[in-house]
């Protein structure tokens, strides 16, 4: 492929870098098998490359590396606020570890101390506290009347003292005789007043009354 040694030697640089096409590589290798001067010259190229790659690398002196970091850091914090923040951070940073350790130790001691001193006052479960309770019937006076098949449904207003203040018949019989008997029954019944946050208050209770007498 190559006509002269001069021509083949012009490819040595690319050959060293492995950038020659395969056919050129083949030609060079073939030429080198019989041309001693070219072979020797290629060896000098390879030795040169090895010498260059073996040159010691200069290391950055530590003081220069530090100077560079300081220089860049100062340029980064040219802003007055940033500089102030850096000063505050630098002042607080030494305290950070002791302060964190102190807080952690205090919290640990607190829980250890509290866990050892607090005694349980009751083993029983707490009674659920209802904030609002409806009025309840404590004791209903005896019914001396029959209601028939349909029950009599009443809405009764109960005072904070547990006294019935009035009632209204929602359904069922509504005869004057029944009303008279209902008045008496309600009057003699005992109620628990409604409560709100533990204090008695007025409320309403719905009563459904039904009495059937069977003659035997």
């Amino acid at each position: 492929m190559f006509e002269s040694c001069v021509e083949i030697r012009s490819h040595f640089s690319d050959y060293l870098d492995g950038l020659c096409p395969p056919e050129v590589v083949r030609s060079i290798r073939f030429h080198l098998t019989f041309c001693e001067p070219c072979h020797e010259e290629l060896e000098t190229w390879e030795a040169l490359q090895a010498d260059l790659r073996a040159l010691p690398r200069r290391r950055v002196p530590p003081e220069l590396a530090l100077r560079l970091r300081v220089e860049l850091s100062q340029r980064l914090h040219r802003n007055v606020l940033m500089r102030l923040w850096v000063h505050v951070e630098n002042a607080l940073r030494p305290l950070l570890l002791p302060a964190s350790g102190g807080v952690l130790a205090a919290v640990t001691c607190f829980f250890l101390f509290m866990g050892a001193t607090v005694t349980r006052t009751s083993g029983a479960p707490d009674v659920p506290l209802q904030l609002v309770t409806p009025p309840r019937v404590d004791q209903l006076a005896p019914m001396d009347f029959n209601t028939g098949e349909k029950p009599v449904v009443l809405v009764t207003r109960i005072s904070a003292h547990g006294r019935a203040m009035g009632y209204r018949v929602l359904s069922g019989q509504n005869s004057p005789e029944l009303i008279q008997r209902l008045d008496r029954m309600i009057y003699f019944s005992i109620f628990q007043p409604a409560t709100m946050f533990g204090r008695p208050t007025d409320g309403q209770v719905v009563l459904s009354l039904r009495r059937i007498t069977v003659r035997g």
């Binding site: 640089s13 030795a47 040169l48 260059l52 690398r57 560079l68 970091r69 220089e71 980064l76």
Partner: protein, 206 residues
């Protein structure tokens, strides 16, 4: 001695997020960037500037430019390539100003520091004999000087390829030239260097 780095920049998929952090001014991101890139950049500028003692100042200028210009970085190239481009530019400017101040010294194989290096080689001799260590140190010194004696376009390409291990396309991006130009400069640079070293060390040793 290898070109592999202990820590590298994030992968391309993560680079956008990393660049966003840098653009937000995250101190941690800049610290990471410094930790990963200051070594390679320092090595690169050391080979490009004429006087190695100037490398620290150039390194500082490079990272200040990176800091100032990170908001203008839109990801057209990788972050590493972009930083290398700034580094090559800064080092070349520095070299030009240095050359204006002082006449370029002639390439010489005379080494006034040979005696101290011999003593140092004796002191740190490992499995190799002090003479072998000294010989290697001498050889590296000669290669380094020969490299420093190359014209800047060739030297930069050779350093980026052989010492920093960049691919041709990356070198083209760093230098802002075509890949063909990179190829021809590399060929020419290697050839000049090889001839220079052949005359110094003898053909069989190069």
């Amino acid at each position: 001695m290898g070109i592999a780095l202990e820590r590298t920049l994030p992968a391309i998929s993560e680079e956008a997020a990393f660049v966003a952090e840098l653009q937000r001014g995250s101190e941690e991101a800049f610290a990471y960037l410094l930790a990963t890139q200051q070594g390679p950049v320092f090595n690169l500028v050391s080979h490009i500037v004429t006087d190695e003692a100037d490398a620290p100042d150039v390194l500082q200028d490079v990272f200040i430019k990176v800091f100032k210009g990170i908001r203008q970085f839109h990801g057209e190239s990788s972050l590493k390539t972009w930083i290398y481009r700034i580094a090559v530019h800064e080092a070349s400017n520095h070299r030009r100003s240095w050359l204006r101040r002082r006449a370029r010294e002639a390439f010489s194989m005379d080494d006034a520091e040979a005696e101290p290096r011999f003593l140092a080689a004796e002191a740190q001799a490992g499995p190799e004999s002090p003479y072998q260590v000294l010989e290697q140190a001498e050889r590296q010194q000669i290669v380094k000087r020969a490299l420093a004696g190359l014209a800047q376009p060739y030297r930069t390409v050779v350093v980026l390829r052989e010492i920093e291990g960049l691919a041709y396309d990356e070198i083209a991006q760093v230098l802002g030239v075509a890949e063909g130009t990179v190829k021809s400069r590399l060929l020419r640079g290697r050839e000049l260097l090889r001839r220079k070293l052949a005359s110094c060390l003898g053909r069989t040793h190069v």
